[in-house]
């Protein structure tokens, strides 16, 4: 079994109490900076973006700002159709090409067998129910992401709310991030993707050959106060929320059920949690 995740156990010793104006202001500025960086600076977008996060900020007792996370309840995903619904929701909206050739496929969210999602475990002593379940895998939006560390042009970077971003217009296609990601979550466009997209969604950019892409946590939806598409399509199986807020659904789920993350021993601090305890 993988290690249990650390539990945010109520107020900790380093708690700052009520955030000072200074802290708030700094966090607010960080969000503004992030929004500018993301180019979501339209008046409407900016308004919605700031409002949602400011609320989240005020509700956060530690004054740390939001830290988005997903908790995937593997028991609530029963049939193949449950997984496909989630994957299709993501891939359709984001114009992810359907390339059949395994070596060159592009994927943002997909399923892996337990022993592949958690390859360092000895499956002979893991309950059969768990081993036989498909596991949804995607970018872990690590707190300490190796991909961000290695990118030579800051095309991949971490937002203050923890979303690990990918700037498709800056990426030089060196593939160092693909090499550095220990979760195989990054896809390089080995082929021009357009011919492999069935229904092009005009709301989302199409990529070109030679750049790396991956799940961006539906940042454009987060900025409108909406949860990621996979969460919406999961029918309650995937929880989304602020890990810094002990009252959030993800914090509560982690505090009450046994959850695991992929390869915790690497120190990347993944923020996609899997509930493996039945209940």
């Amino acid at each position: 079994m993988e290690c249990a995740t650390p539990r945010p156990a109520g107020p900790s010793s380093d708690e700052q109490g009520t955030p000072t104006t200074h802290t708030e202001r700094r966090n607010f500025l960080r969000f503004l900076g992030a929004s500018a960086l993301l180019g979501v600076g339209t008046a409407a977008g900016m308004g919605g973006f700031v409002r949602v996060n400011a609320e989240e900020l005020l509700s956060n007792k530690k004054g740390l700002g939001a830290r988005w996370a997903l908790v995937i309840d593997v028991w609530k995903l029963r049939a193949e159709i449950d997984y496909q619904r989630i994957i299709r929701a993501c891939h359709r909206f984001h114009n992810v090409p359907s390339i059949n050739e395994r070596a060159h496929e592009v994927k943002w969210i997909w399923t892996e067998k337990y022993q592949h999602a958690f390859p360092t475990t000895d499956i002979s002593h893991v309950p059969r129910d768990i081993v036989n379940k498909p596991f949804l895998v995607l970018c872990n939006h690590c707190d300490n992401p190796p991909c961000v560390r290695v990118c030579p042009v800051k095309a991949t970077f971490k937002r203050p709310d923890g979303v690990v971003m990918q700037d498709l217009h800056r990426c030089i296609g060196c593939k160092f991030c693909v090499v550095a990601c220990p979760y195989g979550a990054r896809s390089y466009n080995w082929l021009p993707p357009k011919p492999f997209i069935q229904d092009i969604n005009p709301e989302f950019p199409i990529r070109t050959a030679g750049v790396v892409e991956k799940c961006t946590f539906c940042y454009e939806r987060l900025d409108q106060g909406l949860p990621p598409l996979c969460v919406e399509a999961s029918d309650g199986a995937i929880l989304f929320g602020d890990l810094n807020n002990p009252e959030s659904s993800v914090s509560k789920a982690i505090a009450t059920r046994y959850t695991i993350v992929r390869k915790p021993e690497l120190g990347t601090q993944p923020r996609i949690f899997y509930v493996v305890q039945e209940g």
Partner: protein, 419 residues
């Protein structure tokens, strides 16, 4: 000085044309890759996103760094016999850096954005540092090599201002290979790569492969021109290769100990894949055994004094060493880092012909630059007639053209000077 470039026989022009041909083919294949995408034009995949080109980068940065094995004994230890060949070492470094830079350039999916590395400098990224150290090292070797050669051309001593640049180049050489090792050694979850030994292992294998190539080139230069690099210089290089190769093989042994004594499954799986194959996958096995046998051949030929002194066996030993390390570091090492992949599975890699021709184009470019630089250097040295210490560095037309490296007259001449 540059006049020498235009004076050459049919072989000279023919060789340059051949290289230009390879460069052209490489360029076309590179354009083909960018037209079709890297999918159908390379052996790379989701699971093995780096292959031959990054291997070539790694290997040739090592060759470039190994110029320090000539510069350091000469400038810091006053090893006079290297006086004639420092420029050969520096120009080899120039050519090797060019191959490295082209190799890393060819992996880029969006090469037109390469200057983003400078527009958005990212000191936390090793590729950013790689770009800086390689460009600087290229500049240092061009400046140092050319300045000293120009002084020789004028029949003067090298200007004093060049000294700090030479010392900087000596310091800089290991750093370029250290940075290359850092590309690998700092990645979580890549067990074959992420070891503190990587940097010193890289340096050891580089200091074997680079001087081995210099032995071959020195011998070739002596055969093709009247310039004689000198028997003592070549023999000293052979000793350097011998020690560095021994260290390289020792380090391979250390990897085996750590993996198999600790019983770390992922460490063991990679080494098993490389040397005996794993779960039915064994594409690297013939390469690794050829590499191992060549290393043993090189070690034997260089370690036994009689074969080391014999020019023919010396060159065979040097070539064996060079190709042994090229197979290991120039391909297998990179691939092995991805075996098993992030999911504990195995996806194999072998270069596509298009990829191989792009790599050949990069190599041909390096060889082209090297040929031109050596042509100038040799013409200057032949014209000068004697080296910095007044020793004859040119073979007379009557002297044996067979094995000039070991022609007795040079050996005795050097011995007489030292006595």
């Amino acid at each position: 000085m540059l006049g020498a470039l235009f004076k050459g026989g049919r072989k000279y022009w023919g060789f340059l044309l051949l290289l230009l041909g390879f460069m052209g083919v490489g360029l076309l294949c590179w354009l083909r890759e960018h037209h079709l995408g890297s999918g159908p034009t390379s052996g790379l995949s989701r699971d093995v996103p780096w292959g031959l080109h990054i291997g070539q980068l790694t290997f040739f940065v090592g060759v470039a760094a190994s110029a320090v094995m000539v510069l350091l004994p000469y400038y810091l230890h006053n090893f006079k016999e290297f006086a004639r060949i420092t420029v050969l070492g520096e120009f080899l470094a120039v050519a090797a850096v060019i191959v490295s830079m082209l190799s890393v350039f060819t992996i880029m999916g969006r090469p037109e954005r390469v200057f983003n590395v400078l527009l958005y400098p990212t000191p936390g990224s090793i590729i950013f540092w790689d770009m800086i150290v390689l460009s600087t090292y290229l500049g240092l070797n061009i400046v140092c090599g050319w300045t000293i050669l120009a002084a020789e051309h004028r029949g003067e001593a090298a200007p004093k201002w060049i000294k700090p640049f030479i010392y900087l180049a000596i310091f800089w050489a290991p750093s370029i290979h250290m940075i290359t090792a850092f590309l690998y050694a700092g990645l979580p979850g890549k067990h074959h790569w992420a070891t503190a030994l990587q940097t010193v292992h890289f340096l050891a294998s580089a200091f074997a492969a680079g001087p081995a190539l210099l032995i071959v080139l020195g011998t070739l230069v002596a055969k093709l021109s009247r310039f004689d690099p000198g028997v003592k210089a070549i023999q000293k290089l052979a000793q350097i290769v011998l020690y560095a190769l021994s260290l390289h093989l020792f380090f391979i042994g250390l990897e085996f100990f750590t993996a198999f004594y600790s019983q770390n499954p992922e460490h063991m799986r990679t080494l098993t894949y490389l040397y005996v194959g794993l779960e039915g996958h064994s594409r690297m096995v013939p390469l690794m055994w050829t590499s191992s046998l060549l290393a043993l051949l090189g070690l034997t030929l260089l370690a036994i004094p009689a074969s080391r002194r014999q020019p023919r066996s010396l060159v065979i030993g040097a070539l064996a060493t060079f190709f042994s390390i090229w197979m290991d570091k120039g391909l297998a090492f990179v691939v092995a880092g991805f075996i098993p992949n992030s999911f504990g599975q195995i996806t194999e890699y072998w270069p596509d012909w298009n990829e191989a021709l792009v790599a050949a184009g990069a190599l041909a470019t390096g060889a082209f630059v090297l040929t031109l630089l050596y042509k100038v250097a040799i013409s200057v040295k032949v014209k000068a007639g004697v080296d910095a210490y007044g020793l004859r560095q040119v073979r007379n037309s009557g002297e044996s053209s067979m094995s000039p490296v070991l022609a007795g007259v040079h050996a005795s001449e050097l011995a007489a000077r030292q006595d």
